[in-house]
Amino acid sequence: MHTHPDDYIKPELMACCGAREITDGNIVIVGTGFPTMSANIAKYTNAPNATLMQESGVYDARPVRPALSVGDPCLNPGAAMIGGLVDVMGMFLQSGWVDVGFLSGSQVDKFGNINTTVIGDYEKPTSRLPGSGGANPIGSLAKKILIIALHDKRRLSERVDFITTPGYIDGPGSREKRGLPAGTGPGVIITNKAVLRFDDDTKEAYLATYHPDSSVDEVVSLTPWDLKVSDDVHETEPPREEELRVVREILDPFGMIKIYEGRGYV
């Protein structure tokens, strides 16, 4: 039995949800923030032999503080291998070795398509976002994609304004038709309210678990599409004592994860 302290914050819960999606031995490509936290929690709990890489060229880094970017100086000393983009994105990702990738986006739709390019029209955007970076290839080529998103009707959408990174595109068969590798695609959307998973037949995201301070009704009402609810929908397991200890004592002693509360992850 696990103990579940109740003094956690939402970004901690979300990081733990991510960690539980990782299986021992997984090779995980990470950016910064939650993803790195999740993968590292997994290494200290359920997946001690998982290894991490960053697109900038780093494999199995041993940072002494949370990396603030994929090119962070703390990723250099102690890594097992450092090359460049062609090594990580080509030699590891494109060649099919990456099990798990984490992505986030300004818009995520019901098929798990992600937009990090523009809000509005591409030529005359309301808001110009950073662009794909590594997101598109990670979303195209990693075996399982974990999506992190804020749960509101602006961030989740029936259809993204621009598919930067393909999820299931238009639904069943779409990835295969475009030539994306078999056995890839979004596995879960972790929001600040719930965990959504993808239906095997429809490829649409459905509600799997709602977080402790939320409810099925709240999640459905905050979702801009007709969200299906799992037959065995239940509350998300809160962070376990040992997960929180890893976050607070080992990975992030200065509590940098709190900045995500300021970004709306509450």
């Binding site: 780093v58 250099n76 450092i82 983009l85 970076g133 598109n136 290839p137 393909p166 994306l180």
Partner: protein, 311 residues
């Protein structure tokens, strides 16, 4: 026959208005001294490229030296969206740059293809995304989709890129241009070798003998190099492994400044136009923030093991 010269001369001689530039770096080893000199010399109509662009690209766009950008991403990382980039695309300030967008797999592969004399290269990403639906100045040559002649499956081909000039910042180089790095590589090796000529900015110039003590660290051979510039602290506010850390406070300073056009212009005046070169920049930095702040960026002492190539 030494190629060592000041950055001012290197940029005057080898960066021509209208050129296509690869500018290396990934927070790690950003050639910021060169970027400032390009702005200082008010170059025009440049096409710039790199995977994962950051503050340096944002600054060039804000300063108006950029016409076109072959990119994958541009943000200030920790500090959010690139302000000048947004103003350019959303509000045409100072003008709207043209944009051709790829990814952190396809763009490095295009540079690798360029570096290796391959006309194009197949990539497995971009399929099914809107990145295939937007084309800009590269037009129909942005990519091609063919049925693989081997198994008939649809295959995306992207073209090789060969920039006119590559600018990279490295830990050390000799005076002919043999350039060595260690740590995060980004797309520096492929980008530099894809270019017709290279400007090498370095933390220290070393002898050819020192290069020869560890030739496996060399990423660019001297014959590709047009100029070598010794620029200690040349990647600031980025970092150089073994030399100095990222300057997070300065990143915040740029974020604040670039929130407005006026702030951005004041920033450029203070850190680019009113300083003559990198030495003056470092002097100003110390004057403004104090020597302890500067000294605090210096890398810790943590050296590895030497190896032998002898037989």
């Amino acid at each position: 026959m030494s190629k060592v010269m000041p950055m001012k001369e290197a940029v005057q001689r080898y960066v021509i208005d209208g050129d296509f530039l690869f500018i290396g770096g990934y927070i790690c080893r950003t050639p910021f001294a060169a970027v400032h000199e390009i702005i200082r010399q008010k170059k025009r109509d440049l096409t710039i490229t790199r995977s994962n662009a950051a503050d340096d690209f944002d600054m060039m766009i804000g300063a108006g030296v950029v016409k076109r950008f072959i990119g994958t991403f541009l943000s200030l990382g920790l500090y959010g969206l690139g302000r000048c980039y947004r103003r350019s695309i959303e509000k045409e300030i100072p003008h709207k740059i043209e944009l051709e967008e790829y990814t952190n797999l396809s763009l490095p592969m295009m540079l690798m293809a360029g570096s290796m004399g391959m006309p194009f290269v197949p990539v497995k990403d971009m399929a099914g995304s809107d990145l295939l639906n937007v084309k800009s100045f590269m037009g129909e040559d942005k990519y091609k989709v063919i049925d693989s002649p081997f198994d008939g499956s649809p295959t995306v081909l992207v073209p090789a890129l060969n920039p006119d000039v590559a600018i990279i910042h490295v830990q050390q180089a000799d005076e002919m241009g043999n350039a060595q790095i260690w740590g995060i590589g980004g797309d520096c090796k492929v980008g530099a070798n894809a270019a017709k000529k290279v400007i090498v900015s370095c933390e220290r110039i070393v002898s050819r003998e020192v290069i020869g003590k560890d030739p496996s660290r060399t990423i660019v051979p001297d014959f590709k190099v047009a100029a070598v510039v010794e620029e200690p602290f040349g990647a600031h506010p980025g970092y150089t492994p073994g030399f100095y850390d990222v300057d997070f406070s300065f990143g915040s300073l740029y974020q604040q400044a670039s929130n407005t056009v006026e702030g951005f212009e004041e920033f450029l005046n203070e850190w680019v136009f009113d300083v003559e070169d990198r030495t003056a920049y470092v002097g100003h930095y110390i004057e403004r923030f104090g020597y302890p702040t500067f000294k605090n960026l210096e890398a810790a002492f943590d050296f590895g093991y030497p190896v032998s190539y002898a037989y």
